[in-house]
């Protein structure tokens, strides 16, 4: 696999200069992002049995902390926050587009390199995956037809679907029909499903690659609406079964000042609805807009896992939003809320009930007194099964001109109830700023401090964090269709 990546990297590195020499134009965008995250990971800990009070498998330490005691073991075990560790992931993205190689021919590439600046034992997710070719494709776009060949990262009504293969798009007016297929990759990761990445984290990874086949179509519905649908099937390479088969459909309609948006994702192989939403919104008088939404959600699991056999249940949710914006657009307010209820699980014991509903509510305000200032505040509360929180964010942003800004935001977050982390409060302060460096580069910096205060009985992990990030974005080359390089905003 490493050899394959090296070959791919060299291929892309070699391709771009050759391409830029032969193409009419090339644009390369680079994003360098560096983070420094300081936190205390959980570590295994233990106390002698004699220091834990109570009987049975769960006992308490003197400070109230629950510990697990195994009969016959001289120690009771728990997890506590370890020493502070600093993770310093470094990610370099490069996106390149070269065009003008012939009528409608262009090459697109998006590659990512990862590394770490420090030597801390705390590893950032995927930090050990030093190189990824996220997208690399050749495109031929001629009138009513567009063909792509290579590694593609596509998004649609079913979320991200990435694959190594080809796609053919036919256009007739605004009607679009696309067929695509190839080797399926892990969604959002661009790794083969049989690769070591999954194997390192799951002891029962897929034993065969998957082949993706799909069709997508969209069409306008008069001048007021549009509809689209996507069908996808991922077949085991040995044809012994499916990893997934899904259909997504979306429709949008506007009439009488109102809009209706509908989407559904259907798991064909499980014959279950994964997600169905219908949202209706209508502007009212005086800048008010109201929307209501009905939703049903049931998680989707690919068939190479066993998760689907546990009969996960769906929940139904109703949501509503009321938003107002002043005529000048300077002031915006909104209030939102929703309530959800889970289907009957037919599991667990009646004597140990579990919350089977939830609700959320929130309100926000945004004020732009002039072109230089933005003030915003949001409060949200989400009370439900598994984890609940209430949090408030308030901040301001100052933009002396269109190339610089400085912002500050204060956050207060309360974990009301959580299966794993428990109840606590996190107060935070975040500073951010950005500036353009010339016409085609931008530097963004932010720093944040989040202090965690555990509440309730017993001491528990400390999730206080310090974060810093730096992001440099730059572009060289010009945009297709222009004769000059990109200009300053």
């Amino acid at each position: 696999m490493t050899r394959l990546r090296v070959v791919a990297a060299l291929g892309i590195a070699g391709l771009l200069p050759v391409t830029s020499a032969r193409a009419q134009g090339v644009r390369i965008t680079g994003v360098t992002s560096m983070q420094a995250v300081d936190l205390r990971p959980l570590v295994d800990d233990s106390v002698p049995v004699g220091e834990a009070s109570g009987t049975g498998p769960y006992r308490a330490r003197a400070d109230g902390r629950l510990v697990r005691c195994i009969e016959g073991d001289s120690y009771c075990r728990f997890r506590s926050s370890g020493e502070r560790e600093l993770a310093t992931p470094l990610v370099q993205d490069l996106r390149a587009v070269a065009w003008g190689l012939g009528e409608g021919i262009s090459i697109h590439a998006h590659v990512r390199a990862r590394s770490s600046l420090g030597s801390s034992g705390l590893s950032w997710p995927r930090a050990d995956d030093s190189f990824d070719a996220i997208e690399v494709w050749l495109e031929i776009d001629r009138g009513a037809t567009r063909a792509r060949l290579g590694r593609q990262w596509a998004t649609g009504g079913l979320g991200v679907y990435n694959y190594d293969g080809g796609s053919l798009l036919l256009r007739r007016g605004r009607v679009r029909i696309e067929a695509f297929g190839g080797r399926s990759l892990v969604a959002g990761l661009n790794e083969p499903v049989t690769g070591p990445e999954l194997g390192s984290l799951d002891d029962l990874p897929p034993d065969e690659n998957g082949w993706l086949l799909g069709l997508a179509a969209s069409t306008p519905l008069g001048t007021r609406g549009a509809a689209g649908a996507t069908w996808q099937r991922v077949i085991r390479a040995d044809h012994a079964g499916l990893y997934s088969e899904r259909i997504g459909a979306d429709a949008s309609w506007r009439a009488f000042g109102a809009s209706a948006d509908f989407s559904v994702a259907w798991d064909v192989s499980a014959r279950e609805v994964n997600e169905a939403r219908l949202q209706v919104a209508r502007p009212l008088s005086s800048g008010l807009t109201a929307s209501v939404e009905a939703r049903r959600h049931r998680p989707f699991f690919e068939a190479w896992t066993i998760w689907g056999v546990f009969s996960p249940v769906a929940f139904d949710e109703a949501r509503a939003t009321l938003a107002w914006r002043s005529a000048s657009g300077a002031l915006g307010l909104d209030a939102r809320g929703g309530r959800r209820r889970y289907d009957e699980t037919s599991g667990g014991l009646e004597s140990t009930p579990l919350k089977d509903d939830g609700w959320r509510a929130g309100a926000g305000a945004e004020w732009l007194p002039d072109e230089r200032w933005l003030f915003h505040a949001d409060y949200d509360v989400d009370i439900g099964f598994g984890a609940s929180r209430s949090d408030v964010v308030a901040g301001a942003r100052w933009m002396p001109d269109e190339s610089r800004w400085l912002g500050v935001a204060a956050t207060a977050l309360q974990h009301i109830y959580e299966f794993r982390v428990g109840t606590g409060r996190v107060n935070g302060l975040r500073l951010e700023g950005g500036t353009r460096i010339g016409a085609d580069a931008r530097l963004v910096v932010d720093a944040a401090l989040h202090a965690h205060h555990q509440s309730g009985s017993g001491s528990s992990p400390d999730w206080s964090q310090r974060r810093f990030s730096l992001r440099l974005e730059w572009t060289v080359g010009r945009d297709p269709g222009t004769r000059v390089t990109r200009s300053a905003p």
Binding site: R126, F310, R420
Partner: protein, 518 residues
């Protein structure tokens, strides 16, 4: 056409001509000059001065001149030389003996706005019974109580659908020449021209394109090319505007006046944001009246509309600026960064355009998937992947999301697996931070729930995706498999054959035998 202008009489006192003027004379001279100037200005409005025309006291001469032609003999025939009396004619009486001496000279003004031919009208005088007083007099007044002809008088015969002089359906060019052909008018007079009724209508500025050549000729009576070029970006290429001609007086009037761009009614229509591309392709000139190319590229940074954009004008320095559009940034999620079309968070903030509705947070996915809006028309491709590229972005989630994401994950405010693979993305981080299962069940998982073991089945069915972010499959198979404790995890309604038909190996992971035979 007769060059009929105003006919001011310049009265000069004989004594003023013979003697050095004293203060009284000087005052009289100045006063006379002011009166003459005032009369001239009043006449210049185009309306008749009550009580006499110009400075000549017609009514005092009523018994002296039985016919108008006595002094204006040339008017009916169009003879300019005899249209006005000569000074010598006046001197026949005003000779200093019979009457005081007067001196006057006829000053022919340049072409004004009026398109009028006494000769043409004079031919009809006898045949229709009309006479000079038909236009210059009034019923019930002395014959010589003349005044300038009023527009309403013209309309008495020229009944071309007009209800009044300034009616919006009037044909101005019947009686008026184009402004550029009326050099006698000063800028001030042009500025003071009366506004037709139609110009006061609320939607006039948004829809005033002349529909016919006749209507265009009406516009030309008061407007020059500079009138239109103040706002119209494509003025130079529009035949109707180009036909107006340039005029320095109008240019001076327009200098410094801001362009005005009212929003046409159809821009508020339900389908305008989706359908304006079709409208633009059908009639790009209509767009180009108000929009220069930069106003479109505020949103259209992709290639989808390039064919239309190429047909739009570029705003020229000193010309009409065109509608300056600025995108109103939107928040796709509460407390998330502001987003503009280009995907930047530095937000050029003046807010005029809000392409997406207030509910864009919940609907943009549907709109994109259904093709309701062409995302690529306004957004670079990286705009989507900036948020939807998983680990590659920090823009999608609000600040401190790592500490607040648990509730979002359980409540599925958005579908995490749209961007993240739970097995890899979530579990790797949970494992690194100590949250994830390490394959042992002997430590205090779910510390705060001593009775967790009795609850976990229900919790798993309600939030299985969250389970998978920490637990590997074998954690569950320790109990829920034939190689473990054999606890059945299937819920009511579980269809084994359906599962088996899509992927039998899935069954074999837990069942070493065929399901149902254990």
């Amino acid at each position: 056409m007769n060059r009929v202008g105003l006919v001011p009489f310049q009265l000069v006192s004989p004594s003023a001509r013979r003697h050095r003027p004293d203060l009284t004379c000087l005052t009289r001279i100045v006063g006379t000059a002011l009166v003459a100037l005032a009369l001239s200005l009043l006449g210049s409005t185009g309306y008749a001065q009550r009580g006499g025309q110009g400075g000549f006291p017609h009514q005092r001469h009523e018994r002296l001149f039985p016919l108008c032609e006595s002094c204006h003999a040339g008017i009916p025939g169009g003879d300019a030389a005899t249209s006005m009396p000569s000074e010598a004619s006046c001197r026949e009486c005003h000779n200093g003996t019979d009457e005081r001496v007067v001196s006057w000279r006829y000053v022919a003004r340049g072409q004004g706005l009026l398109r009028f031919s006494h000769a043409a009208h004079g031919r009809d005088v006898d045949s229709t019974g009309r006479s000079c007083v038909s236009c210059h007099g009034a019923a019930g007044t002395p014959r010589m109580a003349v005044h300038r002809a009023e527009p309403a008088t013209c309309l008495g015969c020229h009944t071309h659908r007009a209800t009044n002089h300034l009616a919006d359906d009037n044909r101005c060019a019947v009686c008026h020449v184009p402004l550029t052909a009326a050099p006698a008018l000063t800028s001030e007079r042009i500025a003071a021209l009366p506004r037709p009724v139609s110009h006061e209508q609320a939607d006039f500025a948004a829809a005033h394109q002349p529909a016919t050549p006749v209507a265009a000729a009406s516009c030309a009576v008061c407007h020059a090319r500079e009138s239109c070029a103040r706002c119209h970006v494509n003025a130079a290429t529009q035949p109707v505007i180009a036909a107006l001609g340039r005029d320095a007086r109008v240019a001076r009037l327009m200098a410094g006046r801001p362009a005005v761009y009212p929003v046409p009614a159809d821009h508020h229509a339900d389908a305008f944001d989706r359908g304006h591309g079709t409208l633009a392709r059908a009639n790009v000139d209509r767009c180009g009246a108000c929009h220069a190319r930069p106003s479109c590229t505020t949103c259209h940074i992709g290639s989808g509309a390039s064919d239309v954009l190429a047909r739009l004008p570029l705003a020229e320095r000193g010309g009409a600026p065109g509608v300056l559009l600025r995108l109103q940034p939107v928040r796709l999620r509460a407390a998330s960064p502001l987003l503009t079309a280009r995907g930047d968070t530095d937000a050029a903030l003046p807010r005029i355009v809000r392409v997406h509705g207030a509910n864009v947070r919940g609907t943009h996915g549907v709109e994109a998937s259904a093709g309701a809006l062409s995302c690529a028309g306004c957004h670079e491709q990286r705009f989507c992947s900036d948020c939807h590229a998983g680990e590659g972005t920090r823009r999608f989630h609000a600040a401190n999301f790592v500490q607040r994401h648990a509730a979002d994950s359980y409540g599925r405010e958005t579908e995490c697996s749209s961007c993240h693979n739970a097995e890899l993305f979530c579990r790797s981080c949970h494992r690194e931070s100590g949250l994830a299962s390490k394959g042992r069940l002997d430590v205090a998982f779910h510390d705060a729930q001593p009775l967790w073991l009795l609850q976990h089945g229900r919790a798993a069915r309600q939030g299985l995706q969250s389970c998978a972010t920490c637990h590997a499959q074998r954690d569950c198979m320790t109990c829920h498999s034939t190689i473990g404790w054999g606890v059945n995890p299937h819920g009511p309604g579980f269809r084994a054959e359906r599962l088996s038909s899509r992927n039998a190996t899935q069954c074999l992971m837990c069942h070493l035998q065929v399901p149902g035979r254990r």
